[in-house]
């Protein structure tokens, strides 16, 4: 069985994230790392591999040179090999173009299962798994809090907006998992050493038969017209509670703000 696990290199959310002049995320402004939500996708893929015989996991990423760091982490955690799609023309791609490129790569890799995080921690749109499902014509079981493969069927428990459901799909299929799916493992020393010998393929748009003018900023269907940092918030009042003074201050606040 072959699994493709999608991973993304994102700016560290604890750093100062910023936009470049062209309205795209400035990837130089903050240190990057493997998106935390994708670690759960890697973890669930590894658990499927531990439960089954002869399971291969390929970590796939789309991004500039630094994105190799996300692949490295995925390999250290235990993925078998990696593919890095790296092409200057991809810069500024919207979700439509991103899903087009990833779908082409998945078609080329021909896996039985694609596992994704529920969203990236930078764009946070959470639309790529559904878009891949449309493009590939494969069913998508999304927002899984677990993941099981049995024969040619994948099943998840899904914690949705209004219901908890069990979802089944016939392979090949797309699955996305949430942060409730189980703690992601840390790479072991053995894993870190083994990762150095694992294969990382570099692909560009030519390898995927995609024209440069189909992707990137100019092909995007939406345009950022302005970005502005949130105005600094005026420091609020802080009251140290002393024998009920905290509660009194809060009741006054609620009353003055007409929240009662």
């Amino acid at each position: 069985m072959k699994i493709v696990t999608l991973v993304k290199h994102v700016p560290d959310a604890t750093g100062d994230r910023d936009f470049a002049d062209d309205g795209t995320v400035d990837r130089e402004a903050a240190d990057g790392l493997l998106s935390e939500l994708d670690e759960y996708a890697v973890e669930q893929s590894l658990r499927v591999a531990e439960d089954g015989d002869d399971v291969e996991i390929i970590a796939l990423t789309l991004g500039p040179d630094d994105a190799a760091d996300a692949l490295k982490k995925a390999l250290q955690m235990g993925c078998s090999s990696a593919v890095h799609i790296n092409d200057d023309h991809v810069h500024g791609s919207d979700a439509l173009a991103t899903s087009r490129i990833l779908a082409a790569a998945i078609t080329k890799l021909a896996p039985d299962l694609v596992v994704c995080g529920m969203a990236s921690t930078d764009g946070t749109m959470g639309v790529v798994p559904a878009m891949l499902s449309e493009r590939l014509g494969w069913p998508a079981a999304t927002l899984g809090v677990d993941l099981k493969v049995s024969g040619d069927t994948v099943s998840i428990r899904r914690d949705g907006d209004t219901a908890s459901q069990t979802i089944e799909a016939t392979l090949p299929a797309i699955v996305s998992v949430t942060d409730q799916s189980g703690e992601a493992r840390y790479p072991s020393m053995k894993g870190i050493m083994a990762a150095k010998k694992k294969k990382v393929d570099e692909w560009d748009l030519d390898d995927l038969d995609i024209d440069a003018d189909e992707v990137g900023l100019d092909a995007a269907h939406t345009k950022v017209t302005a970005t502005a940092p949130r105005p600094p918030k005026e420091a609020g009042r802080v009251v140290v509670d002393d024998n009920g003074s905290g509660a009194a201050a809060l009741v006054d606040f609620l009353s003055a703000g007409k929240y009662l």
């Binding site: 969203a119 946070t124 907006d161 459901q165 809060l250």
Partner: protein, 313 residues
């Protein structure tokens, strides 16, 4: 004027407040058409009151049998038939997937989690609410998901009539199967993402949410929880506020025993007013507050609840 499709959300037989906000926003762009999944006859009153003269009803057993693909297919057929100028949906987990699928089918311009929509473009709040982004759709049909509490619903009464969608759905191409489904139990409190006030608890509750719930009930508020509280098993995941849980932007957010980790801030930073109660005066949440109380929530909150009760009487 051109038509704008609004996908109506219905909970327990009622049209949700975010849907009324969508209808209000849609009228800036054209004439709203409401699409309802399920029986629509009882909803024409409220949908008409907010300006939807046409209510398109999609009532098909396949809706509950496959995961979101029947809804996508139905909307795709409705969009092809009615050629709207835009499609507006509320920013739920389900809708982001439906919107993504429709964007592929129509090669559309997709904007998610807008906090304002005008004829000139959209506004989004990104990077944990630290940046505001203005954007416009430059190619294709605009498909926009909108966060709750984006505007105040304004009535604009018209007579609404129900039209059957006239779509044909096909089980053979319907994707992932729903083999079991359990509706989440209603808490009796307002929906977390819709509530005007949210009272939430974190690690500092020590697992006892009774003081948080009591204050919420006195204020008619929703209850939320931090990831630490959810991970500890103290509160269900569906109440988690944060980047990987629910994103809320109520009029007032009261955080209790929550330190203010970045992923929590991402879920509540756009609240209009923020209050925090925390024993640790160094907690980063105090950087966000309009009012901070350094104190033990187990003594402060019951006193606040009692004070509110007295103030109201």
């Amino acid at each position: 004027m051109s038509n704008v499709i609004v996908v109506a959300e219905v909970h327990d037989g009622h049209v949700t407040k975010p849907t009324l906000e969508l209808l209000t926003l849609a009228r800036r762009l054209g004439d709203p058409i409401a699409v309802v999944f399920g029986p629509a006859a009882d909803l024409t009153g409220v949908l008409g009151e907010y300006g939807a003269a046409t209510v398109v009803e999609v009532d098909d057993p396949l809706l509950g049998q496959y995961l979101l693909t029947p809804q996508t297919e139905a909307l795709a057929q409705i969009i092809s038939a009615r050629e709207p100028a835009a499609v507006l949906m509320s920013a739920t987990m389900d809708n982001r997937e439906i919107a993504g699928r429709l964007a592929v089918r129509f090669d559309a311009g997709l904007i998610t989690e807008a906090v304002d929509v005008t004829a000139e473009g959209t506004v989004q709040s990104v990077f944990a609410g630290n940046w505001t982004v203005r954007a416009e759709v430059t190619k294709g049909l605009p498909i926009i998901t909108v966060k709750p509490n984006t505007c105040a619903p304004e009535a604009a009464p018209v007579d609404a009539t129900v039209e059957p969608a006239g779509v044909s759905l096909d089980a053979a191409t319907s994707g992932a199967r729903i083999t079991a489904s359990e509706e989440k139990r209603a808490s009796g409190r307002p929906e977390l993402t819709e509530a005007a006030i949210v009272v939430s608890g974190g690690r500092g509750t020590g697992g006892d949410f009774s003081a948080v719930e009591a204050l919420a009930d006195e204020l008619g508020a929703a209850v939320g929880a931090s990831r630490a509280a959810v991970d500890a098993g103290w509160y269900p995941h569906s109440y988690q506020v944060g980047q990987t849980g629910k994103v809320v932007s109520p009029q007032l957010y009261i955080a209790n025993g929550i330190s203010g980790a970045i992923q929590h801030r991402a879920g509540m930073q756009t609240s209009k007013a923020i209050v925090a109660v925390n024993k640790d005066e160094e907690a980063p949440i105090f950087e966000l507050v309009d009012l901070g109380i350094v104190g033990d929530l187990h003594t402060v909150l019951p006193a606040v609840t009692e004070g509110v009760r007295k103030a109201k009487s």
